[in-house]
């Protein structure tokens, strides 16, 4: 695994790519990782950072596989 500090630092860089993918519809972390070609554990870190600052939000219930889908939040 890459150093957490390094991964976290890159969130502003990958944010646009993840948001543009989520613009096509809500995705789980594995789905987003597959679509972006990025490691799921890193996508998870970035997504949770984006969630913290209101850029994405989860759907109410997880999928049958046990994953939540996340959607981009439209900012006014």
């Amino acid at each position: 695994m890459r150093d957490a500090r390094e991964v976290v630092r890159e969130e502003p860089y990958f944010r646009d790519r993840l948001i543009s993918l989520l613009a096509e519809g809500p995705m789980t972390v594995p789905e987003l990782a597959a679509a972006s070609g990025l490691p799921p554990e890193e996508v998870m870190r970035w997504l949770m950072g984006m969630r913290r600052y209101g850029r994405v939000a989860e759907e109410k219930e997880p999928t049958d596989d046990g994953y939540f889908r996340y959607a981009a939040v439209t900012r006014s």
Binding site: M1, R2, D3, A4, R5, E6, V8, R9, E10, E11, P12, Y13, R15, D16, T28, V29, P30, A33, P40, E41, M44, R45, W46, L47, M48, G49, R51, R52, Y53, G54, E58, P62, D65, G66, Y67, F68
Partner: protein, 905 residues
Amino acid sequence: MGYDTEYDALVIGSGIGGMESALKLGDMGYKVLVVEKEASIGGKMILLSKVFPTLDCASCISTPKMGATAHHPNVTVLTYSQVEHVQRRPDGGFRARVHSAPRFVDPARCTGCHLCEMACTVSVPDQFNGELVARHAAYIPFPQAVPQKALIERAGTSPCTFNCPAGIKAHGYVSLVRSGEYDKAYDLVLETTPLVGTLGRACYAPCEESCTRSSLEGPVPIRRLKRFIADRHGAARVGTDATDGRPGAAGAKRVAVVGSGPTGLTAAWLLARKGHRVHVLEAAPEAGGALRLGIPSYRLPVEVVEADIANLTAAGVEIETNHPVGDLGALREEGYDAVVVATGTPVPARLGVPGEATLEGVHSALGFLRDIKLGAAPDLSGQVVAVVGGGNVAIDTARSALRLGAGKVHMVCLEARPEMPAHEWEVAEALAEGVELHDTWGIAGFSGQDRVEGLQLQRCTSVLDEQGRFAPRFDEGTRQELPCTTVLVAIGMGADTAAFPDLAPDGARRFVVDPATHKTPVFGVFAAGDAVTGPATIAKAVGQGRKVAHMVDRWLTGRPLTGFVGPLPEVDRADVLARQHNFTRHRAHDAALRFAAVPDGFEELEGPLSEEEARAGAVDCLDCGVCSECHECVAACPADAIDFDMRATDTEVEVGSVVVATGYELFPAELKPNYGYGRYRNVVTGTQMERLLAPTRPFNTVLRPGDGKVPERIAYVMCTGSRDQTVGNPLCSKFCCMYSLKQNQLVMGALPLADVTVHYIDIRAAGKGYDEFFEQAKAMGTNFVKGRVSGISEKANGDLVLRYEDIDNGGRPAEAEYDLVVLAVGVTPNTGPAGLFQPGELAFDPYGYVAEVDEDFSPGATSIPGVFVAATASGPRDIPESILHAGAAAAQAAAYLEQNKKVPV
């Protein structure tokens, strides 16, 4: 050092123990000072989910204590502060030194609105969430923090910013580019200078030389990022909306800036942004000084300089060219309130060799370069050109001569190549283009009658004397003739002191100013730039312009000529590298230069970065100073609370007694490598699980950090780092069993379908209601497996395989597979208190905790009379025990104060 203050007691640390001691002493009427190293009081308890065995909300219990501590009339709290030293006085009291780190946010103004945090462009792991999620460099520690005030994490000034002579927030604009905020990045540079595009091309980039990333695979392309944002900015937007003041407003002062080089333009720009009416007076037919008339277009295209100058004109600065100034006094009479002289170094130095002034074909390099930029370039077709000099101007001259068709270009300089003043990469580029270097040669004379036919060279044996002064020595027996048809002399340049003799009294070769204020001997006249410092880089000239603008503005507004606050100390690059366990090798950045064997034009050499290259380059930044100084928080803060000029303060306090309540450290789970913490994605610590279960959790629910899956099979590995001789910690940490049992129940509440298994040696549940709590966990369905876990391995999908000893089934080795593994980490001593006192003064027990001299009959008393230890600083304790022990320590301190009444109360 701040003023002395007197307190009855100093409580070091504000966890539940420290708060309890402080409140008890405060309630008894003693004046208490609490010093907390974090930005909030509350310690570790406030970060817990719930407490055992009651399953009460930890926040609900902690926050009233935090509020009571912060608002108690007898308790003063200093957060983000550390006690550095405590010295016992002969009268039984103590003198302590407290270091308070700057928050860079004025707590009196901050409303806790989080807008600065939202705007911040730097992400770091959130230590208050077990580093499971990012926080920003501007932040409020956690939702229940006391005080609920923002702060900005700054480790110092990033090397790129610290080493920029212009004072540009290099890290700031890199951070903004990383975020895709190109216009904001451009505006950030405008806070310092209008010359964004110019510096993006022609600066020698000391920022990159100092970049910490250089020690990995190469620097962040900081200069080229500046060019990128300038190119993006383009001609459509010329900076009018970036002004913070309108020139010509009522009451505005009039300022004349003489000279339009980098110093003059920067000073004019910044003074205009302050609201002054600024006129730039330039003797040459074009504005820009050396930028416009000195630097060749292959390095700095004219249109780039013109675009930068357009920033000034858009902001209302009036620029008059062909306007030489000879009488500074007359400018004052014309109504200018202040004058800034920034005329640079336009006078070429001379060789002083016979024939230099009379022979046809001998020219100064400055005039040569100026003629090219003014469209009067000489035709050098077929000429053999000799450039004399070894600096960057000489390089520019030689390469320009090649572009004008010279058949051959020689460079002659006194220095050996490694000692040449020109940058090595510039020398290399010149040689790659075909320039022939003759180093360690001086000029003895010229050959030729009316027109130069050659240079007579003599070997230079040394350039500097023993004191490092320029004093070349020659071997006159070693001579050489260098045939040439044109000689261009580039051996230096100086200020035009003849034009302003009042500024260079007593034959000074530069303008004389007060170095602190830039005031000249002439009232109302300031000077700056190369004319004051001697020839320097563009960035240094910009820095001079920035400083003189600051001083002139203060002078015009009747304020003391101070307040030019320097940066925080430079971050130690070794410290930056030590923050990470590993580094990913990032992309190499192609210099993208185009060389031609015979260059035939002045087309720009260096290519631009694409947007993708720019962002990929910016993401390499290591955020050395943590905060990048991008100033987005300044723009976002509605209360004007951000203050980057805040600095640390040190205070000496006199206290009657000391309570050490510095708590414990968590066992670093990496020290059990067979459990894979830090390597396996879904192995977490018990503390991280507390955060996942807390109402203010980092994720939306309990999820695997590796892929966001809701875990269905969760294992607890007990005694991780406790009762373990292999890691040097034989002690039981006392509360891991109970917090694990608590988490078991909370997990089953949060995830009703989850199976929870505890791998344990034995469960220690001694305490009122504790064993019942254990039974409750079993009744809820927790599966208990007796036996040590020997190791964990990770599957490709992130699932984890535990290998363990199954004692209840004959002790056979067994394996089980889980979605998530929680390591019930224990505690280790906080060794911080050791450094607070004289070596050996404060005794520690064999395990490293602060020793109690008689823990049965005198709990809390230490080896130092008047110093008491509270709660987990003396050993592992759970919350009720910690509170009890902290109360005892407070009682001990009170008794000591009463016995020692002579100590000021």
